[in-house]
């Protein structure tokens, strides 16, 4: 294990991470929001029994409850405007909503503790609320797992060290899932070209993965479901061969469509546009 450590230590030493810890995500669907409003009504009815009138705790409860109610209304309205299906779980990052929900739950726990009864005895919908919450969280976590699978699973493009650590450095994901963007910075070893049999290409660009939503319908119709990308390419087409980098450079663009590559380059020798196709099968190890 020791052989790689100095190298990696050096690589990590130059990196500094730009992101901060974020843990304020919520998984929201309509049934959960409806039940949260119902629980709030039940909690309001109990609050006067356990929170002394005019006390700091009562004031705090009222503030938290009002704020939470307003936030739920906002989310419900936004869902209506977007015409989202009621059962669709949407992952939301909202620090204030998260804090209010935590505080509201703290208030419920406080009342339960004071009463010496079970939560359901005070708030009849409590267990149903928790069940619906668990379902929403479970669905949301499945969405996150699917997103990771899209970005790093077998349908994604193999990457080299530079692309991987470059992506982790410049475009890191969050707790909610990986970034949709992945850098392309590679030597693509084999591409068929209309200038001859095969050529190697240097590529620089970006891939975009469909981690947050399915690929658009037109792409799905042609079998593209995982990612699309665009890279600037450099080839040498005067005597096209694999790993041949002599002569006049030919520049072009290559589309990445899942793991398929389709591109065009301007051949300065023949003064024609050459078409290139390839596939990220990576039998030949990548250059980096």
């Amino acid at each position: 294990m020791l052989f790689w450590r100095p190298t990696l230590a050096g690589v990590f030493f130059i990196f500094t991470a730009p992101t901060l810890w974020a843990s304020n995500y919520l998984f929201l669907d309509k049934p959960y929001l409806d039940l949260t409003e119902k629980i709030q009504t039940e909690a309001d009815a109990q609050a006067s029994h356990f929170l002394e009138k005019g006390s700091a705790l009562e004031t705090k409860y009222k503030q938290v409850a009002a704020s939470l109610r307003a936030q739920i209304s906002d989310v419900q309205r936004a869902r209506l405007l977007k015409k989202l299906k009621p059962e669709l779980v949407v992952q939301t990052k909202d620090q204030q909503f998260a804090d209010n929900l935590n505080s509201f739950k703290d208030a419920l726990n406080y009342m339960v503790q004071k009463s010496g009864k079970s939560p359901v005895a005070l708030f009849p919908s409590y267990d149903e609320w928790q069940k619906v919450e668990t379902q929403a969280v479970s669905q949301g976590l499945d969405q996150r797992l699917d997103a990771f699978q899209t970005r790093f699973g077998p349908d994604s493009e193999p990457v080299n060290f530079i692309e991987y650590f470059g992506g982790e450095l410049l475009l890191p994901g969050t707790e909610a899932g990986p970034s949709a963007w992945e850098p392309i910075a590679r030597l693509s070893p084999v591409q068929a070209t209309s200038a001859g049999a095969a050529v190697s290409s240097a590529e620089a660009g970006m891939n975009y993965y469909f981690v947050n939503r399915p690929a658009p319908a037109p792409l799905r119709w042609v079998g593209i479901t995982n990612h699309v990308g665009l890279a600037a390419t450099l080839q040498y087409l005067n005597n096209p061969r694999i790993f041949h980098f002599q002569g006049r450079p030919a520049f072009g663009l290559t589309l990445h469509l899942d793991r398929k590559e389709l591109g065009a380059s301007w051949d300065p020798d023949s003064k024609t546009v050459r078409v290139n196709i390839g596939y990220a099968f990576q039998v030949v190890p990548l250059a980096f």
Partner: protein, 282 residues
Amino acid sequence: MALLHTNASTWNHRTVLFVHGIGLQPAGYSEPLYQILRQADSSTVDATRWHEVAYDSVNTALELKVRNLNSVIPQAGQSPTAKQTAEDLVVDLVDYLFTTDPYNWINTVFRKALVGIITQGQNDGVAVRDQSVILIAHSLGTVVSYEGLHSIVTDPQLPGLSSGFRVRAYLTMGCPLAFIKANLSRLKYLNKNFFLGKEPIGRPTRVDTFSGETQSNVADWFNFRQQIDPVASLIPLTMATSNNALSQETFVFNKLHAGINPHDFSNYVTEYSPFILQQIKA
């Protein structure tokens, strides 16, 4: 997803969750551990639910995705076993400890396992507050579970602490937390979410906004160390190195129950099966 065995007799509302360490750990890897405990007390084991966190698929995906991780590995050994072990060391450790996405991915797998446990209980009419979870983690799994428990404690939804989820007994075996903590300062790493990197070792906590109490989602934390286990012994996790987060001083033993490997998960489970069963029954 992570269910190993459901209860064979009436459920005692206890669920045990295994979290594995480095190495090839396919689904069902904890079956031998379950069998060790079942031989010791079948009635308790049969009344309990058994789950496992299997995150090896994340490591496998990364091994396939990042070509160079594989291409530099053969230098580490010629045999397939040595190659696999070296791959696991590089991919599991480097990816999990130092980069953000694999860390978040494995955390999500861990969180999903907890939610799966809660869901199964709720489906049987048992609310989360009436469920008892015993978490048994080994090697890198102690780090995975440590990070996972820290990441969920402030969640406003389940399995957050304000929703009533707690681990009743957290058992760490062959635990490198103190060693990693002591050495993290020597490396820069990309993952700034890493709790072990940014905070002293301790139980996950949050402050209840109404009672003002600092609360933890871990009721009891017990650590176990084989005397010559290098992973756990170079810098052992103790009351001192854990900043008194452990419930009592680390249990230390010197027997080898599972061959010559002192770090083997089953070595620990065999030695401490009476204690584990006691925690389940408590």
